[in-house]
């Protein structure tokens, strides 16, 4: 199935006092993969400054910049059009996708869950369903119960979390089951904020799954980044000099586009 998705992602940061020497790193340009083709995108940053683009070791596009001069407002807008398909993604997994990462260290409970899921190779789709069911039965979706620093083991013990935690726990269990697994993040149609999901490598291909919504992560997902865990996939990081507090407002819009949108020049 081929789906055209338009996205628009804006962030506005207002500082309570002027700041300077503001360095930032953003991952808000969708990745090019066999299953996801970026047709066009633009990224605008204000105040204006040179924005450099590169690809990190995981394959995510990173946009970096520096605002030396004083400012009290910082904003960026990322927009684009992506075509998603069912094409299998078969890039050979880096070895580190099979090893624990700082936010996905194993725990005995995760090991026993991994052992209870049966053999992934026999029926990959079924296995991933079982994985998602196992995680969903142990975690209830509760915004505010965890933070960006919460580990998979902590979330599991708490029994609560958000999409980041559902993804971390799933990734940890998959690796314990002997499967390479990576954390993915980006946009999802209907979600007003960024979303996190998982990709598990079984029988030579990466299967995208969304443990928070218990469904395959296909057709309405735009992937911005993937890595071992949340820390490898920061959508936005920044530091600045100045005594100021920040008020941040973010809006994400993702909607299905039609062929006419794709054909018109951008």
């Amino acid at each position: 199935m081929v789906v055209l998705l338009r996205y628009s992602y804006t962030t506005l940061i207002t500082f309570s006092a002027k700041v300077s020497d503001h360095a930032f790193a953003l991952r808000c340009v969708p990745m090019q993969t066999p299953a996801q083709r970026l047709i066009w995108q633009h990224l605008t940053v204000l105040p204006a400054c040179p924005v450099a683009s590169s690809v990190d070791a995981f394959g995510s596009v990173v946009s970096t910049g520096f605002l030396g001069r004083r400012h009290s407002l910082f904003a960026y807008e990322a927009a684009g059009l992506v075509e998603t398909t069912d094409q299998p993604v078969t890039d050979a997994p880096f070895p580190f996708y099979s090893h624990p990462s700082p936010l996905t260290m194993p725990s005995p409970e995760m090991s026993s869950i991994a052992n209870s899921l049966g053999s992934p190779a026999d029926d990959p789709a079924l296995w991933t369903e079982r994985l998602m069911a196992a995680v969903a039965s142990r975690l209830s979706y509760s915004p505010g119960a965890t933070s960006v620093d919460t580990t998979a083991a902590q979330a599991l013990e708490l029994g609560q979390g958000v999409c980041q935690d559902f993804a971390h726990v799933s990734v940890a269990i998959a690796r314990l089951a002997g499967l390479p697994a990576r954390y993915a993040c980006g946009f999802m149609e209907g979600e007003g904020a960024s979303h996190a999901w998982v990709e598990v490598f079984i029988n030579g291909r990466w299967l995208p799954i969304d443990p928070t919504n218990q469904r395959p992560a296909v057709n309405s997902y735009i992937k911005l980044a993937h890595g071992r865990d949340f820390d490898d996939c920061s959508i936005s990081r920044g530091v600045f000099r100045g005594q100021a507090s920040q008020a941040v407002s973010v809006s994400v819009d993702v909607w299905k586009a039609n062929q006419a949108d794709a054909d018109s020049c951008h």
Binding site: D21, A23, A25, S54, D56, T64, H99, G227, R237, R241
Partner: protein, 444 residues
């Protein structure tokens, strides 16, 4: 110590040497009870003396070892052949805290990862040298014997006129040559210091002085458009080509590594990945100086260079290998057991200090988690003489040799010898008291 030793005249001048040390501010800082204390780094005038014959072997062995380590680092972050060929188990590499996935695929200028390698050695009482540890991240200490030599020559020129000691005062120019070799776009060369309250600040500033390069603090540098710049006056900026950073990987870039670091240069990793700046030493070297990887270094020499290793590791056993496991269990009372896990808390344990009950406990721990432990033979180091008032006493000491790699690999004909004050202590470490000696390599 005999009265006709080659350093006898120098010892008579040790008060003068200490005055010079004070005058030049040769300090080392330590954090004790939450406060930062700086003191003149205690210097013992009796040098460690290495014979010309020993040095022949040592220097060839050190150069060989560092070349193999650099080859390993390139391999780990690119083809991973040594893992595919079954020499080093994948687990050891990918569960190492020093392995940084962000470095995958990055080959630094001139293929050099560890430009300044500090290799720690000990000499056993039968004269054999063993490598204790490789330090490939931010090895410290060359500045102390460097300045000590300068001062001791001034104070006792006749000592050096009579004895033929290889000159070591070229360290800074060796360092400079390495920086020149990897400098990208003939940019500025800087030593990056975290600041005044770092234990080794003296070294940062002294090496910058002697190498003729800029001493920069984190706030002096910024990255714009993935290019690295030094902040000049009146809003000018100058392109930086190489950074000799005295800050560890995790604090170097809050955009890539530890988010809360205030010591780093945001986005410097991005500039490095693009090849726009050289970083000395490169990111990610921790995978090669990891306690668990040490065991494999002699195998690296064979694998990458096709040579027999000249330098020996302290005999080490990894219980995850069945033969080693059997040996360790059978010989536990004669071995020293080390915990590879960072948060372990067990540190270093000597079998000879354990009761029968404790020995069994340790055997059980090893059986339960063999990957976590390494065992080594206990080496009786030669103790060195140190001055104690007008007489001497013997104390434990180690030796850190420095190997510099740019377009070529050079072994510095000297090194840092540290000793403990406490006669019962096996821990030779600048932060625990103790002091340093110069290291003389004889020309003949």
């Amino acid at each position: 110590m005999t009265d006709d030793s080659i350093y006898a005249k120098l010892l008579l001048q040790r008060d003068a040497v200490n005055k010079w040390m004070e005058r030049c501010g040769v300090r080392f800082g330590i954090y004790k009870n939450g406060s930062f204390k700086e003191q003149i780094f205690p210097f013992d005038a009796i040098p460690r003396v290495i014979s010309a014959a020993d040095w022949q072997t040592l220097s060839r062995g050190l150069a060989q070892r560092v070349m193999a380590l650099n080859a390993f680092l390139k391999d780990v972050y690119t083809k991973r052949s040594i893992i595919r060929d079954g020499i080093v188990p994948a687990d050891f590499v990918f569960s190492s805290k020093g392995y940084l996935p962000q470095c995958e695929g990055i080959i630094p200028p001139a293929d050099v990862f560890s430009h300044i390698s500090g290799i720690d050695l000990v000499q056993a009482d039968d004269g054999t040298w063993f490598v204790l540890e490789d330090n490939l991240r931010v090895p410290s200490g060359a500045s102390y014997p460097l300045i000590a030599r300068d001062l001791t020559r001034k104070v006792s020129p006749e000592t050096f006129a009579d004895a033929s000691v290889l000159d070591n005062r070229d360290y800074a120019s060796l360092l400079r040559r390495v920086l020149d070799d990897v400098n990208v776009s003939s940019g500025l060369e800087v030593v990056l210091t975290p600041g005044r309250y770092n234990s080794a600040f003296f070294e940062h500033s002294y090496l910058a002085e002697k190498a003729g390069v800029v001493l920069a603090f984190p706030d002096d540098i910024f990255v714009e458009d993935d290019l690295v710049y030094y902040k000049g006056l009146l809003n000018k900026k100058e392109r930086v080509g190489v950074i000799y950073r005295r800050i560890s990987d995790e604090f170097m870039d809050p955009m890539t590594f530890e988010k809360s670091s205030l010591l780093g240069i945001p986005n410097v990793f991005s500039a490095y990945r693009k090849g726009n700046v050289a970083i000395v030493n490169a990111f990610g070297n921790g995978v090669a100086d990891d306690k668990g990887i040490y065991y494999f270094v002699p195998k690296m020499v064979k694998y990458y260079l096709g040579e027999e290793p000249i330098l020996r590791n302290a005999p080490t056993y990894l219980p995850i290998f069945p033969d080693d496991y059997k040996y360790v269990i059978d010989n536990l009372p004669t071995l020293v057991i080390k915990d590879v896990a960072e948060a372990g808390g067990y540190g270093v344990m000597f079998g000879r200090d354990m009761s029968a009950e404790r020995l069994d406990q340790v055997r059980a721990m090893i059986k339960a988690d063999p990957r976590r432990w390494i065992a080594q033979e206990v080496i009786n180091f030669i103790d060195l003489d140190i001055m104690d008032g007008d007489s001497t006493v013997k104390r434990k000491s180690d030796f850190r040799a420095f190997v510099l790699s740019g377009k070529n690999t050079e072994v510095w004909p000297s090194g840092l010898t540290r000793f403990t004050r406490d006669p019962k202590s096996f821990v030779v470490n600048s932060s625990q008291g103790g002091g340093f000696k110069d290291t003389w390599v004889l020309a003949k």
